[in-house]
Amino acid sequence: MVGRAHAGTARDGATVSRFACVFLAVVGLCAGCTRTSGQSVTLLGSTSIQPFAEMLAERYAKEFPGRLVEVQGGGSTAGLQAAERGLANIGMCSRSLTPKEALVFTPILIARDGLALVVNRNNPVADLSIGQLRDLFAGHVTNWKELGGQDGPIRPITREEGSGTRESFVRLVMGKERISGRALTQESNGAVKELVKGDPAAIGYMSLGLVSQELKAMAIEDIQPTVENVLAARYHLVRPLLFVTKGSVTPAARMFIDFVLSPEGQAVLATEGLVGLR
């Protein structure tokens, strides 16, 4: 009996010390690693800029192996907040800053992007005026036949409130009118695209650079949504794409920003349908 008790305590001790080792190892792992903010660059924000930033990051990593750039979505406002709180080195923002924001952040223009109004490929309507768009998204116009299309309900799709694309749309089209409460809400450009692809009655707004063959982008006020028209400032719905920083920028982040603004970086953006700075 006594012997068994001794054996028991010995085994208990082994278990406890084994557990302590694991615990210390985990703590050590945490303590030993530093925040990688010095080495890598994190971008967070606009889902419009995200795919392009990813492309730039991959090209950047190819040119300069070992330099890591991390890109995450979340929307323009989330990007600004991430920059503010240090969650990311660079915030991606697809609208211009408000005066209050401009006091805190430093915006860097990397490209200009058109705002496309997209409908399903089978939708016969091909152009709208800004006034019609406003009525449509405000919920005053509810049937496609009022716009010259087939008889059927219009289903407007909007983005979430923190979206720079939405904010740009509101500034450029809606003005004082509010977007209808009936509008379906999606949380990224890609989600809008998928929804419009599948629903013949849907209409949404998204980054022109991300429109693909599967969708139809409408002409606005008879101006076609092409890169040339955006460059020539003929197309009405254009918004800036910004990299936003707060305070001083880490050297790694500065190098990436320089790359994006360089001719090579701009060429990458141009081939993808964004309007470069030149």
Binding site: G75, R182, T185
Partner: protein, 286 residues
């Protein structure tokens, strides 16, 4: 003996840290959320459908209605299938088969929410849009998807409830000449009624907390849904959609939404507990 004291102290420390962690969350959520409810006004917060954070308007009524509609819909669908499943597995299927099928139902519980949402978007939503109209992203779609998701929850609790009914009740009924189905409807279901109600309530508690699948199939429109085919935004979807960029009062309002959900679920849990306790009381009768 001294070792026992050390172990006891260690375990106390562990327990206290667990309690501390959980209390931290509760306190944090309430501390962030409650002041904004009072600031906006209890009536304005809960009874206004005007949710417009950029203008500082935080009325969550349309999302409360949305959550409730979707949850009740899910419960309606879930109850039908779960009850059938529970009755079949406990009363009408050979024991080998029910033993094999029970873990399969648990499997349903393991499938991730995003997979349910995805299958719903790709198969169910177009069907609804084509055959019933509307955008397809609707209360109906969310109810069906959620109904399937809460099936395992309701079924397993219902099975427990049915199996808890004393065999003597059932045997007595058969001895009196009733068919097995008559026994089920007139004796079994009635005796297990409280447990079954508890099962449904707990299923509803799960449904109301579901987020990802609902975001994918519900449409997330801000208006109060006027029909089953209209798009809807639930309390959970609202938090998920906006928490990435909400700050200041907006973020506090999301915590307040969390407080609301906390309260609703606590209410449901308490109701389920109360209902099932009544069952135990009933069984004490000779």
């Amino acid at each position: 003996m001294k070792r026992d004291g050390v172990i006891r102290a260690l375990l106390l420390g562990v327990a206290l840290s667990a309690i501390f962690g959980l209390a931290l969350i509760t306190v944090f959520i309430f501390r962030e959320g409650v002041p904004i409810i009072l600031h906006v006004g209890v009536r304005k917060f809960f009874l206004s459908t005007d949710w417009d954070p950029s203008l500082g308007r935080f009325g969550i009524l349309s999302m409360v209605v949305g959550s409730l509609m979707v949850t009740v819909g899910a419960a309606a669908i879930g109850v039908v299938f779960s009850l059938a499943l529970a009755i079949v597995l406990t009363q009408f299927s050979p024991p080998g088969l029910s033993a094999a099928l029970k873990p399969v139902i648990e499997l349903l519980a393991g499938i991730p929410s995003v997979v349910y949402g995805f299958v719903g978007v790709v198969t169910l939503v177009p069907l609804i849009r084509h055959w019933l109209g509307g955008p397809g992203l609707s209360v109906l779609a969310a109810s069906i998807v959620l109904g399937v998701m809460i099936l395992p929850t309701i079924t397993s609790i219902a099975i427990d409830a049915l199996e808890a009914v004393p065999r003597s009740y059932l045997e007595g009924s058969i001895a009196l000449g009733a068919t097995r189905w008559q026994t089920v409807t007139m004796v079994l279901l009635r005796a297990a009624r409280s447990g079954l109600i508890a099962a449904v309530i707990l299923g509803m508690g799960r449904a109301i907390g579901e987020t990802m699948a609902v975001i994918m199939v519900a449409g997330n429109a801000l208006d109060v849904p006027h029909s089953l085919l209209a798009p809807v935004r639930t309390l959970t979807s609202n938090i998920a959609l906006e928490m990435g960029y909400a700050s200041g009062d907006h973020r506090k309002a999301l915590f307040a939404t969390g407080v609301t959900l906390f309260a609703i679920i606590t209410l449901l849990n308490t109701a389920a507990l109360a209902v099932s306790r009544r069952r135990v009381g009933k069984r004490r009768a000779p």
